[in-house]
């Protein structure tokens, strides 16, 4: 069997790795127009800021692919012929397949702004975007970044590291307020401003103006304000990268490629995973398109089983995510809606320095814990997840809260203050019974003990 995978992002690569793990016989070809090897898209910013080199973004050494017999093709797929089961490349070549996996990722959103196709206007999604930005950087005296999401702040931080004055335009009245609860959202806004980035709340882009030479020279906002800039970063979200699939007759597309519970598209033997997939029946509380690293990884693994005739339904598990807003780390586990919901109670503790917080969400009715949101403090994924999965009572969680703490040694622990806050709000007399430490966490997680230590080298994946 020959499986062709379009896209060498985390979704495609995970699928390929698991195919090889589960079967020795399957022939695997992975195609991408973007780069020779898989790289970590999430780390593009670190190359621009000089933290890492391009090579450092590659999680596997080049020989890994040969060793695991995963054929790599650097081609652009122009057309997919699902009847003949053939891919047609931009350079005229073709490739026959038995099963096809679409893992084509996302493209940046553009909302038809005048001037959006000028030179020095770009998104920040691909390796080419990065190269392009590097190339034009000497021309940039000031920059505007449009969009208050995760990529927007990264792009602003990138430009800021090169000492370019940046204005970050955010439509809402605080940063990423459609995903972060208000307190955390305001915390990030404060932090951005304190770094000297010109954060413009309640500001929307109206038009990008030509500098006379076909490149961006300024923008105007919807209120008519003009900001001089030689670069405009468009980071108002992404959408599935599916344009080249529009003429595939039987392939049902929504915003993304529509897939069933087994990640199958409407065409037999064609599957879609990662950012480009739109799940027809998302689990309760989950979105149909979740353009994040982790879901791409889970989908990749799931589809490998299904491809090999061992069907496994896609289950994204309990939601988790993380990010870093300049210097503030952010982790979320479970249900943390930006604007709350009926019946959901929240316990929010914030450090006086205004850069650390713990939020615990639980059901008002029966006290079941449903979500954790952390700013500037690290919590253990597995512990939080197990509490949520079990529906543990918030008071039980609070008394054990230290078990979740994942901050480095010697860091101050704030769990007692969180419990104290709860006591003050409810009149209870809870005590923190568990401090930070691995032993308690492992026992709680009930890991198998006394197994031999792995002798495998990381290369032998």
């Amino acid at each position: 069997m020959h499986v062709a995978i379009i896209g060498n992002g985390i979704a495609g690569v995970t699928a390929a790795r698991w195919l090889r793990k589960l079967s020795d016989d399957v022939r695997i070809t992975m195609i991408s127009a973007e780069s020779d090897y898989f790289f970590s898209r999430t780390a593009l910013m670190y190359v621009y800021m000089g933290h890492q080199r391009w090579e450092d973004l590659m999680p596997y050494e080049p020989f890994f692919w040969k060793k695991n017999r995963i054929d790599l093709l650097r081609r652009y797929v122009e057309r997919v012929d699902t009847n003949g089961k053939v891919l047609h490349f931009g350079d005229g070549g073709t490739l026959a397949y038995d099963k096809l996996v679409l893992a084509t990722g996302s493209s940046p959103n553009k909302f038809g702004w005048p001037g959006q196709d000028l030179r020095r206007v770009s998104g920040m999604v691909s390796a080419q975007d990065l190269d392009n930005l590097e190339e034009i950087t000497p021309e940039i005296k000031a920059a505007v970044v449009v969009g208050g999401g995760l990529i927007g702040i990264e792009l602003a931080e990138m430009l800021h590291s090169r000492h370019i004055p940046v204005s970050l335009l955010v439509r809402e009245s605080s940063y990423w307020s459609n995903a972060l609860p208000p307190e955390e959202s305001r915390m990030v806004s404060r932090h951005i401003v304190s770094h000297g980035i010109n954060l413009r709340h309640d500001t929307e882009l109206a038009e990008i103006q030509d500098d006379g030479g076909g490149a961006a020279g300024a923008i105007t906002t919807k209120t008519g304000e003009r900001i001089e800039c030689q670069y405009v970063g468009l980071t108002a979200g992404v959408h599935p990268n599916i344009d080249f699939l529009r003429d595939v007759a039987e392939l049902e597309l929504g915003k993304g490629i529509l897939v069933d519970d087994y990640l199958q598209t409407s065409v037999p033997d064609v599957y879609a995973i990662g950012d480009c997939a739109e799940v027809r029946n998302p689990r309760p509380g989950r979105k149909a398109i979740e353009a994040v690293w982790y879901t791409g990884r889970i989908m990749g693994e799931t589809v490998a089983y299904t491809l090999l005739g061992r069907p496994v339904a896609y289950d994204p598990g309990i939601w988790f995510n993380s990010a870093k807003f300049i210097d503030i780390e952010y982790q979320v586990y479970g249900e943390v809606p930006a604007h709350g919901r009926d019946g959901l109670t929240t316990l929010y503790w914030e450090h006086p320095d205004g850069e650390k917080s713990v939020r615990i969400n639980y059901e008002e009715s029966d006290g079941r814990v449903v979500g954790f949101n952390l700013m500037g403090i690290r919590y253990r994924h597995e512990v939080c997840e197990k509490w949520i999965a079990r529906g543990t009572h918030v008071e039980e969680v609070l008394q054990q809260l230290g078990m979740a703490n994942f901050d480095p040694e010697f860091y101050q622990e704030y769990e007692a203050e969180v419990v104290e806050l709860y006591n003050r709000q409810t009149g209870k007399q809870l005590q923190l019974r568990q401090k930070r430490g691995l032993k308690a966490a492992l026992q709680f997680l009930n890991f198998k003990r006394r197994a031999p230590r792995a002798t495998a080298t990381p290369d032998a994946q």
Binding site: D56, A313, S322, R380, E385, K448
Partner: protein, 662 residues
């Protein structure tokens, strides 16, 4: 204007300027002095009159450098040279007569006296000629004595004959010191201020402003800066090759043209290259993801590396050329501890000050991270107190200058005969030092590593680690993360451990049996070669000189036998591991990039696998730089076994769908 550098304040530019000035002065001062030797100084140094009062040279027996870069017994102790002088010793008198006369005559003939030499090079060249001429004369005299059968009872011809010039090195340094004239000799304190003083001031002016602004990860422009971006594999290999060949080549000379051990070393090196490249397929698996920026870049890094390499070469093997540096720190030594400064005192002073100043930098850089702060304060303390001040005080009290935190086999001469004798002759204190040293090896190391991992030593206590974590921090990203580098690492470091054990076994065999050799291997030669190759060449020249070329832990990762020992315990019998936070890793690579030990942390983290690696020194930087809070250094008696299994966080299973393994 966009730029690829970090922003610096005026004060920082001034600091930088002062530092550069200090470095220039420090370098240039070596050329400022003139050398002029008197007859008396020559004779007093090479063949002193046993009847004249001998000043006990407090430094003579010191082989423990304050820097503790693997200990540094680079001295002529092991050469079959003169015995210590006693008043009525006929041997000493004969040496004084015969050698003294020969040197005097040769010196006059070659115009050594009264001539002013413009540099230490012309001076030592002339002394070399004088030595050769004197050697001929001595040999003639000894031949005659032998013909006449006039050698006194108990004196052999070899006590008097001059042997290979390499054994004259120690004298050469002393002669240069005696002959030194000029501004530094006249104003040592002034030069101390202009170099070390100014350097300190400049460094602090540059570093202290770093405490301002936001705390957080400060890696902007690391790979843009000429000093820190490293060079590609080809150029790295070039520097490494030249240095290795140079060291082994000079080693033949160092061993007085006995090429046996240099040849064994070269053969071993080739064997390891063959093993890794061909038996273990690294050749086939090229290209590797090496620490490999494009082309020959990082000119400042190359300059810094070359400077450091040069510094170590001079310090270890040509101290006659650094007399002005030693002269300059002499008042410091006299003022603080009494006695005469040697090159090891100079080294100790520099080493300690660099750890202190760069330690402040480390704290400024990681001021949001308490683990880093505590750890850095710890290495600063252990260097200052244990490696520098306490041994100096012990020396001043005429006690063995033992660095109590230095552990065999890093402290490779701990079991050398003279060292054991010294412990035994130093009363209760000596006995304590001996017992303490053995206790550390047998109980201290395994127990502590079991409890908290090898980090307790490597990144909290050790002097080599201390330098790597402070001065070396700007270069930690240059370690090679390829699988190939890991293969080299395992062969080489365990090879050094085996070498250290065999060398020490031979030493102890000789010590207890009195035999000078075993199976034809002469003990003193094995010791001498180990000290040269590992103690000086690997730990010093390559270990530190290659900071800007191959990262700050070259020695700790590839060479240190103690690290190998600690690592074995850590790998198989320790509570320490780095835990991975569930599925949060985004494979960004920051952890691997900034792991100074070249561990591909990401390879584990992205599979949710806990990390138990022999080489991890527990610096905690991977956990600090991870933007997603994925890593934590932890100790627990709960077994690490299951959690180190690859693909532990299996999200999918056919039966259960997505699961975390609770």
């Amino acid at each position: 204007m966009p730029s690829k550098t970090t922003q610096k304040s005026l004060l920082q530019y001034i600091g930088l300027g002062l530092f550069v000035l200090a470095l220039l002065t420090f370098t240039a001062m070596l050329g400022l002095e003139r050398y002029q030797l008197s007859e008396e100084d020559l004779i007093d140094t090479v063949a002193p009159d046993p009847r004249s009062v001998q000043d006990g040279d407090g430094e003579a027996a010191s082989t423990v450098s304050a820097g503790s870069s693997g200990g540094t017994s680079v001295q002529a102790d092991d050469a079959p040279a003169q015995e210590p002088v006693t008043d009525v010793d006929p041997k000493a008198r004969l040496i004084h007569e015969i050698q003294g006369d020969a040197f005097r005559e040769a010196g006059r003939e070659r115009g050594l006296f009264g001539t002013t030499f413009g540099s230490s090079f012309s001076f030592s060249a002339r002394v070399g000629e004088v030595f050769e001429a004197a050697k001929v004369r001595v040999n003639e005299r000894v031949d005659r004595l032998q013909e006449e059968n006039a050698l006194p009872e108990g004196v052999s011809e070899w006590d008097i004959r001059l042997s290979d010039p390499i054994y004259f090195k120690q004298n050469l340094a002393a002669l240069t010191a005696a002959a030194e004239r000029g501004p530094v000799k006249n104003n040592p304190v002034l030069f101390l201020g202009l170099t070390i003083g100014l350097g300190l001031l400049g460094g602090l002016l540059y570093i202290l402003p770093k405490f301002r602004g936001h705390a957080g990860i400060k890696n902007d422009h690391v790979y843009h800066a000429q000093l820190t971006k490293g060079l590609n594999l080809g150029w790295r290999s070039f520097f490494l090759g030249v240095t290795t060949v140079g060291i082994i080549g000079y080693g033949i000379r160092y061993m007085a043209s006995d090429w046996f051990w240099p040849a064994v070393t070269a053969a071993t090196a080739l064997a390891i290259i063959g093993l890794v490249m061909f038996v273990q397929h690294s050749w086939r698996n090229a290209p590797a993801r090496a620490a490999d920026p494009a082309g020959l870049s990082a000119y400042l890094g190359i300059f810094a590396g070359t400077y450091l390499i040069g510094f170590y070469v001079l310090l270890y093997w040509a101290p006659e050329h650094v007399a002005p540096w030693i002269t300059m720190v002499d008042p410091l030594k006299q003022g603080l501890f009494g006695g005469v400064a040697s090159q090891w005192f100079l080294y100790g002073v520099l080493y300690t000050l660099i750890i202190l100043v760069m330690g402040v930098r480390m704290i400024a850089k990681y001021r949001h991270n308490k683990y880093q702060i505590v750890r850095t304060l710890s290495v600063m303390f252990f260097q200052t107190a244990f490696a520098f001040i306490i041994p100096e005080i012990l020396g001043a009290l005429n006690k063995p200058q033992q660095d109590l935190k230095n552990i065999w086999p890093l402290d490779y001469d701990f079991f050398f005969g003279w060292q054991l004798d010294q412990f035994q002759s130093a009363g209760a204190l000596g006995t304590f030092m001996l017992v303490w040293g053995i206790f550390l090896v047998i109980v201290g190391v395994p127990l502590m590593v079991h409890l908290v991992g090898k980090r307790w030593y490597c990144s909290w206590v050790c002097g080599c680690g201390g330098l790597a974590e402070t001065m070396g921090d700007p270069w930690r990203q240059l370690s090679d993360k390829s699988l190939r580098a890991w293969k080299f690492e395992r062969w080489i470091i365990h090879g050094v451990l085996v070498a250290a054990i065999l060398m020490t076994a031979l030493t102890l065999y000789s010590y207890f049996t009195g035999a000078e050799s075993l199976l034809g291997f002469q003990t003193w030669k094995v010791q001498k070669w180990y000290g040269f190759l590992i103690g000086a060449g690997f730990a010093g020249v390559v270990g530190t000189g290659f900071y800007p070329l191959m990262g700050n832990r070259v020695w700790c990762r590839f060479g240190c036998p103690l690290a190998a020992y600690l690592g074995l315990v850590q790998r198989f019998q320790s509570r320490f591991r780095i835990t991975t936070n569930g599925g949060q890793c985004i494979s960004c690579g920051n952890c691997s990039t900034y792991c100074e030990m070249g561990i591909d942390v990401r390879a584990y983290a992205q599979m949710g696998q806990d990390i138990v690696r022999a080489s991890c020194v527990g610096c905690g930087v991977c956990a600090a730089v991870c933007p997603r809070g994925v890593l934590r250094l932890e100790n627990s008696s709960e077994d690490a076994g299951y959690r180190t299994v690859p693909e532990r966080v299996i999200h999918v299973s056919e039966e259960e769908g997505v699961v975390m393994k609770f």
